[in-house]
Every structure is written in structure tokens, then in C-alpha cells.
């Protein structure tokens, strides 16, 4: 009975959490493309103007980033200026919550058919590597190990701390700018 009464609140909280995480991730993707050369090496292979979307099906929260050239990504929020080139879609809010709360690794979510790829699979693989690198930078190692298939052995504490701090600073600045605008 209690669970039934709490269900709408749980659903609402889950949706709010996923929306917030998409906002953070979108900005963090833009930030990591500005501070990390290895990330730019990955994203340079995307065509200029390439639009990438992560979305919860059917009309749930979404994040959209664009490759603006030289590996740099720009966060568009949840609306795309034109049809997206690649979309990774969670089949349900519950699945997005599992991944974004680090209870299920992104790779495991793919293996478990929680997500669909609409677009060029090779770009999806590339963007998944970028997401993994982002999570390795911005999450504490113990949490990141739950989010990525393998925590990168060559990512040492000083680099993680410096890059992580720069990414967080840029995310915070972007949030403030958005609120002011």
C-alpha cells in the first residue's frame, strides 16, 4: 500500500534525477572536449556539425551535443537545431536511472538491450568511449569503476584531479551563464 502511494513520488524523483544528470553530462561533454586532448582525438573523427543525442524513450529527457570542429563539442540542451545524426535511446526511464546512478555500466546496459542506437554504430562506439573517459575523470575512482567497463590504468591521480576540477569548473560556469541568460 505504502509503495503504491510512494510510486508517483519515486517516478518523479527518478525523472528529475535523470534530467539533472543529462544537464550535467551535456555540459561536462562540452567541457572535457575543451580540456582533454585524448577526447578531442576521438571527437575529431565526427563530421563537423554532427549532432549527438542521448534520450529516454519515447519523449523523456534528452541531451544534445554538436561537434563544432577540431574535436570541440557544444551542448545544445534538450533541443536540436536540426535532425540529429546519432541517437542513443534508453528504452525506459528506469533503464536510464540504472545507468546514470551507476548501478549498471553503460556497456552492460548495451549488452542488456536497455538502449538502442539510431545512426552510425561506429560513431556510437566512439561516443561511448568519450562518455567512459568523462566518467573516469569526474567520478571518484570507486564510483567510476562501477560506471565503466575498465577504469583506465594510465589515468593517475594528479591528471584526474586537475582535469576533473577543470571540467567541474566549466560545468558550473556554464550553469551560471545559462541561469543568467
Amino acid at each position: 500500500m505504502l509503495v503504491k502511494r510512494l510510486q508517483p513520488m519515486i517516478s518523479h524523483a527518478r525523472r528529475s534525477y535523470v534530467e539533472l544528470m543529462f544537464q550535467v553530462m551535456g555540459r561536462a561533454l562540452q567541457a572535457i572536449s575543451e580540456v582533454d586532448e585524448q577526447t578531442r582525438n576521438e571527437t575529431r573523427a565526427l563530421p563537423e556539425g554532427f549532432l549527438f543525442e542521448m534520450q529516454v524513450m519515447p519523449n523523456g529527457p534528452k541531451l544534445i551535443v554538436e561537434h563544432t570542429g577540431d574535436g570541440k563539442l557544444h551542448f545544445h540542451g534538450d533541443s536540436a537545431p536540426r535532425p540529429v545524426d546519432l541517437s542513443i535511446q534508453f528504452k525506459h526511464m528506469a533503464h536510464a536511472f540504472l545507468v546514470l546512478s551507476f548501478q549498471e555500466k553503460t556497456s552492460v546496459a548495451f549488452a542488456n538491450d536497455r538502449m538502442l542506437v539510431d545512426g552510425d554504430v561506429s560513431y556510437a562506439v566512439r561516443m561511448t568511449r568519450v562518455l567512459n573517459r568523462l566518467e573516469s575523470f569526474i567520478l571518484p575512482k570507486l564510483v567510476a569503476q562501477r560506471a565503466v567497463k575498465e577504469y583506465p590504468a594510465n589515468l593517475h591521480l594528479p591528471e584526474k584531479l586537475i582535469s576533473g576540477a577543470r571540467i567541474y569548473l566549466k560545468v558550473a560556469t556554464n550553469f551560471v551563464e545559462t541561469v543568467r541568460a
Binding site: 573523427a45 552492460v108 545512426g119 561506429s122 561511448t128
Partner: protein, 395 residues
């Protein structure tokens, strides 16, 4: 509570065994199809493999309305459009694809066009575009390896853009797969070996990669057992119908397994090598399988150890300490490759193929990293990892 979850889907009716081809007329009639078109390639026709199919239909009063026998090894959007034009002109109502991966993929793509309409197959490219069942579609495989008869994927080359277009939909799955040992009796030894190792790799990767599940495991282990028990005897006695049927069934079972649990790094490297060096897919699979298993071993020790039972049988399995079974499984695969090399010189290293340059390894590694199957490999793979596997496979 566990987070484990899986999906399994295979609605294909498998018609397998002696005189299986003779079931085609009955099965087509059951789907109200009266005017089938055969899609095949010149090699299949020249080998006389169409004759029993046509005879089986004619004996039951079912006329094959049209035969298109010019499917190239890498089928293209133009070929698909041409076949669809013939299909419409001849007022066909069903398709029978007879052949290997290319003929089957072409049949799937033609079925999209003739069912959905239009001449531009490219607009149906991608996942989940198709929303309705297609025309009756049967597949008669003439190789025992690809498993395409039970997969929901087709790949067609767009000649103008120079890209490969993937098509993914459960509606691409045929209504029936007809597995008749007569269709693989004349396969030359090196193709028999390479395609069987393709099936073996599908099954081993299905059993050891991230999307493994209890149902695909059952198909994978059964397929491995059949290949292990029958491949060498078929190599020694190519006209062994029972052995041929075992290999053909193994291929279908491995196809069901991997289409529901995906594959890993062997396929990523194999696809890249095929694209860059134009090596046959089955050969690439045979070549990379042990090296990739060695790379993955610490992540897959338990399932790989289990496979020893199906690779070598209960005596060897029970005599091998549990801690050594994973290594013993890799040794069994190496032993099988050595035996195939002795019988038909199936290459075991990139150098032995004579078609790969050491300078191409870097390009292969880079391309492999972007292959979709790498997502399902149990270990994360960096470019250095891929290169180290390639160097081990070099010589």
C-alpha cells in the same frame, strides 16, 4: 536483487535434415505463396545446387517464376533495385535466397523493397525502420558458417557513396531456414574449414562475451560440440552427409546464439581485416580466435573453462583441473586449427595468409576500435591492446 536481464528472439522455422528441400512447396503454400523468385549467385548455379531446389518445387507443381543468379560477393544497392524490378515485373509473391551470406543479405534487402515499395533501399537503412512484416522469405544456406539464415541483419554496399548500409529489423528474419546436407556436400575443403571456424567463433564469442544469456548459451555449446565432433571427419570424408548436416546445424545454432548475445573482439578485428586486406571472414575468425581468447582470458576464465567439455569431451574435461580448463580450451582450438592447416593449409597467422602487410596492422587496429562488436567484448580494448593481439597473430 540481480541486475541481470536478457532478451532472446528467434521466430525462424528451421527445416533440417534429409530431403528438407522437398518441404519448401508445402511451407510456401502454407504462407499463400505461389510465385517464388530465387535469388542466388553464379557459383551456386554452376555447382548445380539450384537443381534439387527447382526439382523439389516442380515435383509439387510449384513453378519457380524467376531466377536471379548474378548476386556479387559484396551485394550493392543497384543489384537490390534490379532484382526488385524483376520481382515486380514477373509478379512474384515470395523469395527464396539460395547461397552464402551475400545472397541471403541480398534476399533480405530485396524483400524490404518489394514489401515496402520504392526503388531506394538506402532509405530503409538503420535499426527499427521497418514496422510491418514482409513478403514470405525462405533461406537455403549453401555454406555452413555465416548463420545469416537466422539473423535480423543485412549489409548492402551503397556504390555511389562508397559505404556499407546496415539494415536491422526482426522483420528481416526469414519465415524458414532450410538446412539440407545436399547443399554443402560440394563445398571445397578450405571453405568448409573456414566457414566451420566462423560458426565456431560465433558460438565461442556468444558464450564468452558480455550479452551471453542462458538460452544463447545452450545453442552456443551445442554448436561447439557439433563442430568439434564433425569438422575433421568431414574434412577427411567430404561426402559424409551426416557430418555435413551436423556442421550446417551447428552454423544455424551458432547463428541463433550470436544474434541474441552478440560477438566481441574477434569480429571487430575480423571485420577490419576483411575491409582492409580483403581476407574472407571465416578465415579471419579462425585466425584471431585463440589470440583474442588469450587477451580476454582473465575476464572469461569460468565460461571459457566450461567450453572444454564441448571442445574435447567429458574425459579430457574431467581429467583437467578446473584452474587449467580455460587454457586447455584455447589449446583445443589451436589443435583444431593445426589439424585444419595440415589438411587444407588454412592459415593460422596473418603472415601465413600472404595477403597482409605488417605495416597494415595499425590501420586494422584503428578500424577495429570503431566496430560495433567491440562494445560486447568482456574487456575494454585500447589501440595498444588491439595492436598487441594483432602482433601476436602476425607470426
Amino acid at each position: 536483487m540481480t541486475n541481470k536481464y536478457y532478451e532472446f528472439f528467434c521466430p525462424v522455422k528451421v527445416i533440417a535434415g534429409k530431403a528438407a528441400l522437398e518441404h519448401i512447396p508445402f511451407e510456401l503454400t502454407g504462407l499463400a505463396a505461389k510465385r517464388p523468385m530465387i535469388v542466388t549467385d553464379k557459383g551456386v548455379r554452376a555447382a548445380g545446387l539450384l537443381d534439387p531446389v527447382i526439382a523439389a518445387c516442380e515435383e509439387s507443381g510449384l513453378e519457380i517464376v524467376s531466377i536471379y543468379d548474378d548476386v556479387p560477393p559484396d551485394s550493392s544497392t543497384t543489384v537490390v533495385r534490379d532484382i526488385a524490378t524483376v520481382y515486380r515485373k514477373e509478379k512474384c509473391d515470395s523469395i527464396i535466397a539460395v547461397g552464402g551470406g551475400s545472397a541471403i543479405d541480398t534476399g533480405k534487402a530485396v524483400n524490404i523493397l518489394v514489401s515496402e515499395g520504392g526503388d531506394d533501399i538506402a532509405k530503409y537503412s538503420g535499426a527499427g525502420i521497418l514496422k510491418h512484416p514482409l513478403k514470405p522469405f525462405f533461406v537455403v544456406p549453401t555454406t555452413a558458417g555465416t548463420g545469416s539464415e537466422v539473423t535480423s541483419v543485412a549489409v548492402i554496399t551503397d556504390e555511389k557513396k562508397g559505404v556499407k548500409l546496415p539494415f536491422t529489423s526482426s522483420f528481416l528474419l526469414p519465415n524458414a531456414a532450410i538446412i539440407d546436407p545436399r547443399m554443402t556436400l560440394t563445398l571445397p575443403p578450405h571453405i568448409t574449414a573456414a566457414t566451420a571456424m566462423d560458426a565456431m567463433t560465433h558460438a565461442v564469442e556468444a558464450f564468452t562475451c558480455m550479452a551471453k544469456n542462458p538460452l544463447s548459451d545452450a545453442y552456443a555449446t551445442a554448436a561447439i560440440k557439433k563442430v568439434s565432433q564433425s569438422l575433421l571427419s568431414v574434412m577427411d570424408n567430404p561426402k559424409d552427409e551426416n557430418g555435413r548436416l551436423e556442421l550446417a546445424q551447428a552454423s544455424t545454432m551458432a547463428g541463433i546464439a550470436f544474434s541474441n548475445s552478440m560477438v566481441g573482439l574477434v569480429h571487430s578485428l575480423g571485420h577490419a581485416t576483411g575491409a582492409i586486406c580483403h581476407l574472407p571472414h571465416g578465415l579471419c575468425m579462425s585466425l584471431y580466435l585463440p589470440y583474442v581468447l588469450e587477451f580476454n582470458i582473465e575476464s572469461i576464465r569460468e565460461p571459457l573453462g566450461e567450453l572444454l567439455l564441448y571442445l574435447e569431451g567429458p574425459e579430457v574435461y574431467s581429467a583437467t583441473p578446473a584452474a587449467r580448463r580455460a587454457e586447455a580450451s584455447i589449446s583445443a582450438i589451436r589443435k583444431l586449427r593445426d589439424a585444419l592447416h595440415k589438411r587444407c593449409e588454412l592459415p593460422r597467422t596473418l603472415k601465413e595468409t600472404g595477403k597482409v602487410l605488417e605495416s597494415q596492422l595499425e590501420a586494422i587496429a584503428e578500424m577495429a576500435l570503431d566496430d560495433g562488436s567491440i562494445m560486447f567484448n568482456p574487456r575494454e580494448v585500447t589501440k595498444e591492446d588491439a595492436l598487441s593481439v594483432l602482433r601476436r597473430a602476425w607470426a
